[in-house]
Symmetry: C2
Subunit: 265 residues, 2 copies
């Protein structure tokens, strides 16, 4: 059986994997793992190997990108290989080319999905998924760009929320924080002056979504910059128009000040 | 411990639950389940109860919406209750008010995330998540609306893809199909004549995402209407501008005709 199964680890730790994912890993000839496209804060390789009952080989960005996943493809040409990835596979688009290459070589590919930050943050915040516009990633300062500011502005003009992912390099232990992201957006505001992200703008910050104790805080940008979100990963949401149930959810779950209700239609 | 844990079942069957979710259900005093907000095509209550090792009580739409989840809240006031839901909790916004009510009563709430169609279809198609605009749901004919057409048009104008969820009433075994949805959109096109959805428009249809054999097909609307997607649930994506890697992915994974490459930037 020449097969490559991309399996999502979901959020936070090794217990985010689904029962189907665990079953496939147990039945695989070789199991690989990458941990650089996202952070699983409480992940333990030892516990994962104990659950699967076999050795799990960690692959670096270099293994998967520069060497084009040669180890994974080689294993899948000999039998059944599983590649474990944080979250839901292919949300980090970096592995799409590996899947294309596998299919070209006649290796059957399958996906076992896992929880993703994309839906988890929507559920945690109580915001409505059809109220979100285009998603954007806030880059590190060395790659500073006005794109996130422009996307937030475009979405807001249409009354839509913006999910703002914060850049990370898990293999270098670098994670953009809510505070740094807001500081960068305020700096862009200084130049563009379109009042898209000012200190009084209401937004939502979150940390460690998918853990047993995620932090969720809705407040003004000024207050969010003072708020202690703790350890990474962090994430941000800018708000469009709120449905009254969304405002109630932010007051109940995110400690939003009552003024949030004024944002509701 | 007064606690209510909303736990995602992920996609397709009872094996979509995460290890953390299973652990919490095993440790709960009472376990509830709803199956009406989405379809898990291969789900078995008997197998789920065997996995959890205790009885699971199924709740209807009436139990959760008209009776405001009285059974769940009552159980959570006495101990630890788990409510199992398809997909990732709160993507079906119907349970948000139950969570607000629980918090008001001083019941601690937590979420254990599961795979969601929102990220799964992005990963399966190989499309890039930051290229999607606002999501929309295509309603059943009796609730026909021009909103989906307008959302597709707005997204397309900005070069963005549209995730078009298809309405379902799992408790009535009613599921909108790709074919019916396209027929409705073509009917709206007849009236509005903005060339948003015509027979030659390229789109992507999928069925049973999250199963071991999902169907994914990229082609013209005309061809997609003839294509046999099989059993529900179905889903649709309308395309904005494609990155060349997205076009390659659709050719490799979705049997897209080579002309799709012309949609790439």
């Amino acid at each position: 059986m020449r097969e490559l199964i991309f399996t999502g680890l979901g959020l936070h730790d090794e217990k985010g994997i689904s029962l189907r994912g665990l079953e496939e890993a147990r039945n695989a000839d070789r199991v690989f793992l990458e941990l650089y496209t996202s952070l699983l804060p409480d992940f333990s390789l030892e516990r994962l190997e104990a659950l699967i009952g076999k050795e799990v080989q960690i692959l670096s960005r270099r293994n998967l990108e520069e060497e084009n996943g040669a180890a994974v493809l080689g294993a899948a040409e000999m039998g059944k290989a599983v590649l474990l990835v944080p979250g839901d596979p292919f949300i980090a688009t970096t592995h799409v080319s590996l899947r294309i290459e596998a299919e070209k070589r006649g290796i059957k590919t399958r996906i076992i999905h896992g929880a993703s930050i994309l839906s988890a943050i929507i559920g945690l915040s109580g915001l409505h998924n059809y109220k979100f516009g285009k998603t954007v990633t806030m880059p590190f300062p060395e790659n500073a760009s006005e794109t996130p500011y422009n996307v937030i502005a475009q979405n807001k003009r249409r009354g839509l929320h913006t999910l703002c992912l914060l850049d990370l390099k898990a293999d270098e232990k670098r994670f953009l924080s809510v505070k740094e992201a807001l500081r960068m957006l305020l700096a862009i505001e200084q130049k563009k002056k379109k009042r898209v992200v000012v200190t009084s703008t209401f937004a939502v910050g979150a940390a460690r979504v998918g853990s047993n104790a995620p932090v969720l805080k809705a407040d003004s940008v000024e207050k969010l910059m003072e708020f202690d979100f703790g350890e990474p990963p962090h994430i941000l949401i800018f708000l469009g128009k709120l449905h009254f149930m969304e405002a109630e959810a932010l007051v109940a779950f995110a400690g939003a000040p009552a003024e949030f209700r004024r944002l509701a239609e």
